[in-house]
């Protein structure tokens, strides 16, 4: 049916097609493909359309050039102060040299993972627990420096390493919580005591201030009282002087009149006191009154008025309910 030439043509066309297949490579964005010639690396294909020499060139490995995320599985780490904590993390890395990442290291992800794991132990083992929990940035940075420098030989840039969880053992967490609580309580108590102290001081200050003020008031008052007494004494001295002057110059009868007047007024007030049942009349009153010759007229009239209402005996019981006014002293003409 088919001649030799026919078969040759068919096979030739088939081979051409296969060769085209083998020679044309379109690399997707985000990847780079290494080309090996006789199994020796020659070059790297960039994203896009590429030609390789069929029969002798082949694609070695297809390397992902995008940034990749790698979970660092949780592991137990012993800190400097002998606490065992469980730590896990995450690493972000990006291949920048496809050839080196393919041929410098056997299993790239495995290598990076182990490097990260061991360095987490190293870094965390040199810190104590409190530092570990509060210095994550520092841990991340130290890890990044070490791992990045090591991975650079493999054509990889490690962009970040983050510690995700640091889980201390349960009893330690409990102890930490207790410590925290105690700390807070202590602070509360101290604050309370401080407040108490402050308030006591303030109160004492207030009392002191008030006492000082009071004393000052008393002192001021005493000064003024003394001054008043002085003034009074001065006035009395002046008045006495005036009276004695008047007496010296005038008539003694005038003085007597005044005394009698006062005496009668006093008697009147004693008599008109409310509920007064007993009238106390000084014994010597009459004598005094009697001695006042200058006012005898006056006295007589007053006596007459009194005789009408009151007993002359000072010890006598009050028989008459004379609650009317005192002796009516007429004006002296």
């Amino acid at each position: 049916m088919l001649s030799g030439f026919d078969l040759f043509v068919l096979i030739f066309v088939l081979l051409i097609i296969l060769t085209l297949f083998a020679g044309v490579k379109t690399v997707p964005q985000g990847y780079e493909w290494t080309v090996v010639r006789f199994n020796k690396y020659t070059r790297t294909l960039m994203p896009g359309l590429n030609l390789i020499v069929p029969f002798i060139d082949r694609i070695g490995s297809k390397v992902n050039m995008m940034e990749q995320v790698m979970d660092v599985p949780s592991q137990e780490v012993i800190t400097k102060d002998n606490a065992t904590v469980t730590v896990d993390g995450v690493a972000f890395y990006q291949v920048f040299d496809a050839a080196r990442s393919s041929y410098e290291v056997t299993n790239l992800t495995h290598a990076i993972l182990n490097l990260t794991t061991t360095n987490i132990r190293t870094v965390m083992g040199s810190m104590d627990l409190d530092q570990l929990l509060s210095h994550r940035d520092e841990i991340n940075e130290r890890l990044l420096r070490v791992v990045d420098a090591a991975a650079a030989n493999w054509g990889v840039k490690v962009n970040r390493i983050e510690i995700k969880d640091i889980v201390p053992p349960a009893d330690l967490v409990h102890a930490m919580a207790r410590q925290m609580k105690a700390e807070r309580e202590k602070r509360a108590l101290v604050l309370e005591a401080e407040g108490h102290r402050q308030s006591e001081i303030l109160r004492a200050e207030g009392a002191k201030q008030s006492q000082i003020l009071e004393a000052e008031g008393r002192r001021e008052a005493a000064f003024r009282d003394a001054e008043a007494r002085e003034r009074l004494a001065e006035a009395e001295a002046v008045a006495t002087k005036m009276v004695s002057d008047a007496v010296a110059q005038g008539d003694l009868n005038a003085l007597n009149y005044f005394i009698a007047d006062k005496y009668v007024k006093a008697l009147e007030s004693i008599a008109s006191a409310p509920n007064q049942r007993v009238l106390v009349l000084p014994v010597e009153a009459t004598a005094i009154l009697g001695s006042l010759a200058g006012v005898s007229e006056l006295f007589k009239s007053a006596e007459a008025a009194k005789e009408a209402r009151k007993p002359t005996r000072p010890t006598g019981p009050a028989t008459s309910g004379g609650s009317s006014g005192g002796p009516m002293v007429g004006p002296i003409g």
């Binding site: 043509v9 066309v13 085209l20 359309l49 990045d148 650079a152 840039k157």
Partner: protein, 149 residues
């Protein structure tokens, strides 16, 4: 063969269209040339009237030629600047930018913090706080020079 001979020269055009359709459905930049070559072969056959063996050979040759021509064009198009020339080449995108050193460059190597990651530097010894300009990116290593100011 009987079906093919019944269709005659149109079988090339049909093949070409089918191959182009396959290319659209499964982009691989490959069926495209075969399809183009098939259609070209059909045209040549219409013009000259060849034996089927000759048609096959012509098909193969045209396919290779189409590929070469296409590559010429493609090369020109890939050399045209893309929207984002620094895709997957982060270090290269830092070239020309200036940074302030947080730590000194000692014996030609140091580190600088860029975009929340730490990059290794190579350059002249400079104290911390000096301004540097990135001149060249070498994988994950940035070469710097002292920047004015």
């Amino acid at each position: 063969m009987s079906a093919l001979s019944a269709l005659g020269v149109w079988s090339w055009f049909i093949l070409g269209l089918v191959l182009l359709g396959v290319e659209v459905a499964m982009p691989g930049f490959f069926m495209l040339w075969l399809g183009a070559a098939a259609i070209a072969t059909g045209l040549i056959t219409l013009a000259f009237g060849l034996s089927w063996q000759a048609e096959f050979i012509v098909f193969a040759v045209v396919a290779v030629v189409a590929l070469v021509v296409w590559l010429r064009l493609a090369k020109r198009s890939t050399e045209a600047p893309a929207d984002n020339p620094f895709l997957n080449r982060r270090a290269a995108s830092y070239v020309g930018r200036e940074f302030v050193l947080e730590e000194a460059i000692v014996r030609g190597s140091g580190r600088v913090r860029i975009d929340d990651s730490i990059w290794r530097l190579s350059g002249p010894d400079l104290p911390a706080g000096a301004k540097v300009r990135i001149t060249r990116a070498d994988g994950g290593l940035l070469h710097v020079e002292a920047a004015a100011g």
